[in-house]
Every structure is written in C-alpha cells, then in structure tokens.
Symmetry: none
Subunit: 413 residues, 2 copies
C-alpha cells in the first residue's frame, strides 16, 4: 500500500511550527507495512487543498490528512475533501452530543462554529477523538482510502493508534500482520546504543531492529510480520535475548512505558514511597512522576529548592556548605547528598532523590553548564551519588538531568 | 513570489528524522517576503523526484530543494533536475579543488563518488558551501527559479543565509517585505478568541489576522507587506488597538513570548519574588517558571504538596480542614487560600501561588475531574481566589491548570 501524508495548516508554511505529525505518521505507517512515498504540506486554502488532494489521489492508495478539523473558518479539510469527492457533509450525532455536553458542563457558551467539529462525509466511518472535540473520518472512494485526523498531536496520535491504524490494516489484504516489541533504555544515549548494536542492525532483516530517541529516552523496536503471535514471538525472543546480553543493565521495560511509569509501577507493587528535592531541574522530576496516573500512593511530595536560602531553610543545608570561598557550594556532591538524606529523614519515605546542577545558559559558582549531581538516599541503605556532565540547551539539560536521576533511582529498585 | 520547498530523502518518509529544514526555509522565505504555498517531501527515487519537480514547477515561481546533494548513489537531486530541464551537468572546478584539498589534507583516499559533490547544471550559479563539500546551485528556467541546497542543517542554513537569500532577493521585483506582530493571549480559548474577532478576521485583508493555539496558549498574528517598517507599523497599530479594546485583559504580550517568560520579565524589572505550592499540577508550574533563563532572581522555590500529610506538615494546613466528613477537604477554596497565604508568610516572597484540584483520571474527595482552585497571595494585598472547571486528560488538565494559575498571577502584576 502506497501512502501520502498531507498536513494542512498555514502555520506550517510560515515556519511557525515544525511538522512533527508527518514524522509520527510516517513511522506509524512503516510499522503497519505501508510505504509513504510523499509528504505534502498545504495551507488553509480550499482550492490549493483540493489541488493537493487531486495529486495525492493520483499517486497513492491511502491519503492521510492531519489538521484542519477544528471549529474555525480556516479549518477546511472536510469541506475540501467533500467538494473533491462530491459527497455531502452531515453532523455525526454522538460527536455533537459530546461537544454540547462539554459546553453544558463548563457552563460556557457554544458558538455555532463548534458544530463544525462534529461533521462527517457521507458513507464514511467516524474515528473517535478521545482527547478532543473534532471527530476523525475514514472512507474509501474508488479504491483510494482517505483518513482525516486532527492537527494537535495530543489528539492526532491517540486517534491514529486507537482507531485509524486498525481501520487502515483492515484495508490491507494478503499481508501478515506486524508484531513488534519495544525495549526501553535508560542511562544510555542513542549514538552509543546504536554503536553497540550496529552489527545486529545491519545483519538482521527479520525481525528488523530500529532505534528511536525522544524526550530524553531511547528505545529499540523489533518488528516482524507473522501469521500468528506465537510464530512472531519465536522470531523476536532470540534477538531480544542477544540485546539483553549486551545492554541488559540499561533495559527497564520491554513495552512502551516511560521510565517514570515503570518506577511508579515498581514502587507501588512493593509499597514504597518517594520524595524529591530539585534544584536545577526546577520541578520537572515531580512533574514527570505526577504525570503518571495513580502516582499519589508512591510520590509523597517534592521541594524545589531553587535558591540557597530555600536549601538551607527547607532542607537544613548549612550556609557554610553552600557559600564561602572554601565551601563545596550548592552544586556539589556534598550538597546533593545532604539534600537527599535530609529529605529522606524529614519525609519518612523509603527513597529520596536530590538533583543539583547548572542548567545554563551561563555557568554558576564558576562551574560549567551541564554539571549535575544526583543523589538517591534510601531507608536502611547507602546513598547513591552520581556526577554527570550533560550537553544541550537549558531545556535539554533539565530533561536529561531529570531522566538521569530517575535512572539512578530505578537502578536501586 | 510563490515558493515550494522540496525536501529530498527517504529517511524523512520513514519518519527517522523530522523535517526541520522545511520549517527553517519557510520562516526564512516569509522574512524575505516569499509566500510558501506547498512543502513536499519525496524519497531518493529519480522518477518520483522528477514528478515532484514537474508539479512544483507548475505551481510555483521558486522551487527550493534541500537534500540529495551528497556523494552517494542515493543523492539524485542535481541529476533529476538536469533530466527534467534537459541541461547537462559539469564539474564546478573551485568546488572540485576544495574537495581534493580536503582529502589531501586528511591523507584520506578520495573515491570517485566524491566528485559528484562538485557537480553543477549548465548555466547556473554556484552557491558556496562554507561548512561542507557539496556545492549548491541556483538557476532560472522559463521564469521559474530553482535553488538547490544540501540536506544537513549545518550546511543548508549558512548556504541559505549567506548566498541563497541574496540570490532569491535579486529575482524579486516590486515586492515589499512582510512585517508581523504577534499578540499573545492568556485565560481565553482559541474558539472564543476567534468568535470575538470573527468579524475582523473576515473583513480585514491588510494586515491579515490569524489565530494560533499551542501548548495551552493562544495567539493572534497580524501580518502586512510594506515598503518600510514605519508604514507597516501604521497599518498594524490600529488593528492591534481594536483587538485590545475587545480583549485587552487577556493580552499579555505583543511578541512571541510565553506567559511564564512575561511573568519572570515583569517581576524581575520590579524586583519581585515568587514562591509556588502545587498539588494537582505536581511541579509543572515550577518547571515552566524555571524553564525561563534568569528565573532564579524571581522564583525562589516551590513545594509539591501532593499528599495531605505534606500539606499539613510543610504548609501548616490543619488536618481537620483536609479530612473529615464536614471538612472543606484538600480540594477546596479554603485549602487553596491557606496554602498560598501560609507559603507567602513562610517564604517571605512578594507573591505566592497555590493550586489544588483533581487532575484525574478518577474523581477525588467525591469532586469531579477538572475541578481546580487557584489562589494567589500577595504581600500587603488581598488573596485572589479562582475556581475552574477544566477539561481534557490528566496531562491537559495539569497544563491548563498551570497556565490558568500563571494567568491569575499575571493579572495581579
């Protein structure tokens, strides 16, 4: 099956945002065994959008749209496809009910344009939007399949994974389904990971091996086509075993979960509790942990000790450790250790994580950007200490420091 | 001048990399006053590349390629354009000399394919590559301009900025550059924003008005073409004034800054300090504030009081307020107010922000998902309290609650 991805939005053509949707959908198509031959970006302009549809329909079996399903006058994807195919638009009542309930619930005024988000083309299948308002659409016209997804990644991704992928697969015949296994890594960068596996990646054709990096995490995905799950498992398991022999200490999961999800799961099962003290990460570790549903039975609380005064007042770090010519300073192994151990004692949790360092852009205490200390204190055990030298801008250093701290914690668990 | 950007590379179609080059070039074109109508991505396949060139030449005055100028058999951009235009390829001697010098200098063996990087089309202008080997190409054929740039951003960006931009400008006659102004909004959703401005958006053609939403923020961009900046300002200002008359209380900036950047800027100028107590947002407000460079002179610290015990122990909320049949509970205006006021007193800052609510997915204390209380306490002033009913999944409720809390703070500043 040959596919084309059409991203709709003038903000893409103005360079205001980068087309990450095309990347996500391209990769998702590859996983399904669909070959993407073209990606196109077109603005919020009906006639140019119709031109793009005509060209895509002439060279692809599957056209996937993202964007232009919202409530405003600029959201034209459904209208343009309806004109091109000569099909009518009608309201999808379950979506309309949901939109009306949303406004009733908020006590907000629903404007007429919000109805547009419930539109569907005739003879099409709805793709539910679990994280937003605009309903997606899938249909087939003269052997060409069309899938319409919203633009915001938070709506587009769940809609694709939960509904569109299965719809597309149902249109593919004579092809074995894909089975894949995701190995999630922590404490190792993508370059080094690829270097360690390069011989496997190059030789191995079934299952295929691909490495991914996103949001401070790296992963390896093993993929094979097989008639049955059992047959797939027989192909996937030996390759996973080989990878584990090389890099097992970095693998924290063999499914697509984040490191913080795995930590919360592990600690919940064992009835363990956690507290966090952050300086350079500024609340990010707490934010990551509390992003996990049900984290409240594990994560008790966090303290963002951004200034020396807060480090002193809230976690009892002596001022002569933090300041003075011969003092170790706020960015030191001494301070990291004391932050973690004092927090453990104060909070009565089983584990306490502390992070202090230089997120940049400038140095601090004469210490270089990217220098970070992580300490993990544990009830009845020795405190683990780690010094890191991270690279990247302020945002990346915060993220890498946060993930490194979680990795230190995971290793102790 | 209407432009199309063609990025060439199978790795883009597989989703292995994201097309940041298209964003860079789109923005650069907008700055030059060139309107990008389409972006296309095509793989390393000569016939599909020629098809893409044919389509682009039919709808654009300027076609900008990025990628496919390297030494390998997969690098086909120059070959494909030469075939399409019926022009010969020849070696550009200065580029060839540079490539040979490079290999001599490294003592490395130059393989025949490296010569490909010095190729040019006949009757074309070279675009020097100051940071790599492959020479760029610019030419005009039957009123259509073609610019060929390398794929690696480290080579593409300098080549565009130093050479291609000037070449393109020299082909533009009688077109004024674009000027734009971004108004950033808080405390209002995109639908309502557009509803309030719909008459302006529809009537107004110069400057144009467009609304944008991303990561919990909304923005309006005003854009006009003018001979001079002064003339542009004269067109932009009355429209901004009209929008401010309608929605001024929601406009926190007239440039592209985040709400937290604007808050840090304002508080820094006024020498004000801030502390944050978070329950349902779990550290996100602190994380957003500390994402701003230089936030440390304003943001003193934050406390993530995730459990009732932490609310009690760290911020002195009485247990009989938090728990018990007739107690207001942790999710209440009473608790929000006490968190903010106690934090203000403890920290000695000028402002203290507190957030408590239900991020979901399940209800808490019998209170519905999305119910959030925000309190902002200030030195020598009354505490501002706000009850919100937010929608979305856990992640979206955290983000919307965090941005709403920052909006409450900004209103007081």
């Amino acid at each position: 099956m040959k596919a084309e991805i059409i991203a709709v939005g003038t903000e893409l053509l103005l360079g205001q945002i980068v087309n990450t949707n095309a990347q996500f959908l391209s990769r998702a198509c590859a996983d399904l065994g669909v070959s993407v031959y073209f990606q196109t970006v077109v603005g919020d302009n009906e006639s140019r959008l119709i031109d793009a549809i005509r060209i895509a329909a002439g060279r692809a079996d599957l056209v996937i749209f993202t964007g232009g399903l919202g409530p405003t006058q600029d959201d034209l994807t459904k209208d343009a496809l309806a004109v091109y195919l000569g099909r009518k638009l009608h309201i999808h009542q379950p979506s309309m009910d949901k939109i009306e309930a949303f406004f009733r619930h908020r006590g907000a005024h629903m404007v007429e344009s919000n109805r547009r988000q419930a539109l569907m083309l005739e003879d099409s299948d709805p793709l539910p939007n679990d994280t937003g308002m605009a309903v997606g659409v899938a249909l087939t016209n003269e052997q060409t399949h069309y899938v319409l997804l919203p633009g915001p990644p938070k709506e587009m991704k769940p809609m694709f994974e939960r509904y569109a992928a299965a719809w597309i697969s149902s249109k593919m015949t004579g092809v074995h389904p894909l089975y894949s296994r995701m190995l999630k890594f922590a404490g190792i960068g993508e370059s080094l990971l690829e270097h360690e596996l390069i011989d496997l990646v190059q030789v191995q054709s079934d299952p295929t091996i691909a490495t991914y990096a996103k949001e401070g995490e790296v992963a390896v995905r093993l993929t094979t086509r097989s008639a049955t799950r059992e047959e797939a498992e027989q192909k996937l398991s030996p390759v996973e075993t080989e990878i584990r022999q090389r890099l097992g200490q970095h693998i924290y999961a063999n499914e697509d979960v984040t490191l913080e999800e795995e930590i919360i799961r592990l600690m919940k099962v064992r009835g363990l509790q956690l507290a966090v003290a952050e300086s350079c990460t500024g609340g990010l570790v707490s934010d990551l942990l509390t992003a996990v549903s049900g984290s409240s039975s594990v994560f008790q609380g966090g303290i963002v000790v951004y200034t020396n005064e807060w480090k002193h007042r809230l976690l009892g770090i002596p001022m002569d450790v933090l300041e003075g010519n011969d003092a170790p300073g706020a960015i030191s192994d001494v301070t990291a250790r004391m932050l973690a151990e004092n927090l453990l004692e104060q909070s009565g949790t089983d584990y306490a994580v502390a992070i202090t360092g230089v997120a940049g852009p400038g140095e601090s205490e004469g210490k270089p950007v990217g220098l970070v200390y992580v300490a993990v204190a544990q009830k009845g055990g020795a405190t683990a200490l780690k010094q890191l030298q991270l690279t990247g801008n302020r945002e990346m250093i915060k993220l890498r420091a946060a993930k490194s701290a979680l990795y230190q914690l995971w290793q102790l668990l």
